[in-house]
């Protein structure tokens, strides 16, 4: 839900993200900090507020890293198969 709002592409302030949400400003701030520490959201200070923006690179990087590990396992398991079936 928060990600969906941020996916609009425009950087948003916490105030803007609170509009229309059932969550308190405090809850949204906490949520944003978690997303920020995971690298999914980036923030930049603009005046008195921070603006938050979704970072698609992080999603792509996680997917690529998982893809890389997944492929390593495919290869390792193929070697295991050859090893036990000989």
């Amino acid at each position: 839900m928060l990600i969906a709002k941020l996916c609009g592409g425009r950087a948003s302030s916490i105030s803007q993200l609170t509009v229309g949400s059932r969550l308190t400003r405090q809850a949204i701030t906490k949520h944003l900090r978690v997303l920020e520490s995971a690298g999914l959201v980036r923030s930049v200070r603009a005046g008195r507020e921070s603006l938050f923006r979704f970072d698609p690179e992080a999603i792509r990087e996680t997917r690529d890293y998982l893809q890389f590990i997944s492929e390593q396992w495919d290869e390792a398991l193929a070697r295991l198969k050859a090893f036990v079936e000989d």
Partner: protein
């Protein structure tokens, strides 16, 4: 976004054979391509060095979790930020770890092996940069090339 990898593979070998290949440290090393220093023992760390061509500088280190004979073998290990020789560091302290679980089931054809690696949700963004497909060098292609070479030149 997934936090885990799941694999299933049917092996035409008895469960006891597969169990040995997984949990005997010398046999494990033969197919995983790592030279381990000693046996797997629950609660203890096993160390070694990768023997996969091009990655001989990489330290292998895992904390063994469970060894339920012929059913479950699991361990946790850290993911170094970089495997590239120029940037690789042997210091794994503070790095995120994942849990690797091998589950074995007897089947009519032999053994069903299920592998799960979980815990990727804990990884920070910059951990993953090097492995992005946008990188020149094409990690996956390199690995495939090495695999082809190793297969042709055992």
């Amino acid at each position: 976004m997934s936090d885990r990898i799941e694999k299933r593979i049917e092996l035409k070998a008895p469960v006891s054979r597969v169990w040995r290949a997984l949990t005997d440290y010398r046999e494990f090393g033969e197919w995983f391509l790592v030279k381990l220093e000693g046996p797997f023992v629950p609660g203890q760390i096993t160390r070694g060095r990768i023997t996969y061509p091009g990655y001989e500088h990489v330290k292998w280190e895992a904390l063994v979790e469970k060894m339920e004979p012929e059913r479950l073998f699991s361990f946790t290990w850290a993911h170094p930020k970089s495997l590239d020789k120029a940037h690789y560091s042997e210091d794994y302290s503070g790095l995120p770890t994942t849990l690797v679980e091998f589950r074995l089931e007897k089947t009519a054809g032999g053994t069903l092996l299920r592998l799960t690696e979980s815990g990727f949700d804990k990884f920070p963004a910059d951990q993953r940069e090097e492995f992005s497909r946008r990188n020149d060098g094409g990690w996956t292609e390199q690995m495939k090339n090495i695999e082809r070479y190793v297969t042709k030149n055992p």
